[in-house]
Amino acid sequence: MEFIQNFPFITIVLSLICSIVAFGFKGKNARFITYFLLISSAIMSISVIVYNSTVGDGYFVYRMGHYDAPIGNEISAGFLEPFFALLFEIIIFLSITGGSRKIFEDIKESKHKFFYIMVNLAHAALIALSYTNDIFTAYVFIEICTIASCSLLMLRSSGKSLVAATRYMIFSLIGSAFTLIGIILLYSITGHLLFPQLYSTLQTLWETGSYTMPLTISLGLLICGLAIKSGLFPFHLWMPDTYGTATPAASGILSGVISKGYIFLLFKIIYRVISVEIFLDSGIHYLIFVLGILGMIFGSVSAINAKNINFMIAFSSAAQIGYIYMGLGLGTTAALVAALFQITSHALTKPLLFLSASGLSQTVSGKQGFSAIASTGHNNKIAGLTFGAGALSMIGIPVFVGFVPKLLFGMSAFDHGIRTYLVLIALAISTILNVVYFLRTTINIFASPKSNIKRKNITFKQAKVFSVVVILMTAINVGVGLHSQPLISFFEKGIEIFSTMR
């Protein structure tokens, strides 16, 4: 076995070790441990991508403790697993760097280190969710992810964030319970927990027509649990409070990364456990498709009615997650590629919007109401411009990354009968609604100053790190938007490898 094949395992263990080691340090020093973890993990993720694309079959399976299945636990890495691990690492790095000043402002000094400890823990959980080959291990790390994300939210200690944490926790726990009961039903029917064994047993059972109803129920519960946790309509009600009240770095991580971790796991389960054929045969995809489309529209409608900029961005997440589920509901390879691209696009754009919005609200002493932030684009030009870029990306203007998944969804929707029209109409309505609230806000922040609210000017020199990070995020957004084809080919190749990994 090549040494590189140990990297996914080392990344998970290193994250857990860093979480413990960070307890011994003060806040600012704990931050450097997180940076060390993220940089070293990113290097390992890149190594795994390069290794898989140049050597061997394009994937490998790592047996924990070298015990064979079904006794041993496994980790597997193809193209998509290390890619999403890398994406999560980049987004977490940029979010905590860009939002570092706000972290120190929003959270008590004695609790700074806990923020970084929880980031390390969330990183461990996300990486494990990306790489794991065992469905029960996935459940354990789902719960670790829930604990870490709830703690990130609680650390702000304001009344609003505590209430948001409670609401988030209740929704998350309901989601976890459904996931767990789905997993247990699946185990009781198949007798396996590892993906490849589950896949082969499910195939046999489905072909023979035995246990069709219990299997459909267990898969439905599993998907429903993960959908609740990732915020699919109508389970998106925890989103505005959660994303809107956390410190901007935590909002970026929660919306850009953590919800995507659950969706990527669901994607893995659909592809590697259930198989697309059974998924489409079971009829669950119709439900996901309809909820996805409803999410796209109602998420945007809620965003239009949102009372402040952070709530608006949070509700927009519900709409964007609707796109991903719509792609999963279509079930074709082209739609799944579009869904993967949407995960990437949303992960790249949403933290940018949260950070830029925090930059704008800083000019008016942290106020987030639309009237308060009006014209603040003149006081913090970089935040205003990068918010505008993020908003254009969310709307789906060409050049920005947000355009690509919309185009891919549109193209993949053809030949689906009535669903073709539904997708195209939903895309059109959703884009118009996006224009209404994002463009309205962008125009609002660049409007001529009218109100008498006292504003503070924030220049590049005053917020160097923040400015560099948001500019970098915008550059990545445009870069990926302009050169999307290599990434699309990469996703197609990744899905092809997923099929061979069974």
Binding site: M154, G159, I184
Partner: protein, 125 residues
């Protein structure tokens, strides 16, 4: 009749339903945490009953004597239940910590009152 034969599964589903109802509908946050624990217990009972085979031995292999695997119950669900309990305890601990913080801030455990007070604070701002 089937429910009587599968009484363990039936009990676990009843426990799950009770816990779920408490978690979703109870206004008191402590009762919600209790509901969460009852719900998890229901799931663990369901899981443990899956691995239990009547008249078989505990899956601890003696140093001498019988080592035939078919004489023992399935040890995997038991292991999973133990892992699940650890997870459940951690989540409950976090929820209780959150409850303490909420109580210190709002002086009540009723979630409706907490939401009301929180919205009032927001409006005052």
């Amino acid at each position: 009749m089937n429910l009587l034969i599968n009484y363990e599964e039936a009990t676990s589903m009843i426990l799950f339903a009770i816990g779920f109802t408490m978690l979703v509908f109870s206004k008191n946050i402590l009762k919600k945490i209790m509901g969460l624990n009852i719900m998890d217990t229901g799931i663990y009972l369901f899981l443990a009953s899956m691995g239990y085979i009547e008249n078989k031995l505990t899956p601890i292999v003696p140093s001498t004597g019988n080592v035939n695997a078919s004489d023992y119950i399935n040890p995997i669900p038991t292991g999973l239940v133990l892992t699940g309990i650890v997870v459940s305890v951690s989540v409950s601990a976090l929820m209780l910590a959150l409850t303490i913080k909420l109580y210190k801030k709002f002086h009540t455990l009723n979630l409706d009152e907490i939401y009301e007070k929180c919205n009032k604070e927001e409006d005052d701002e």
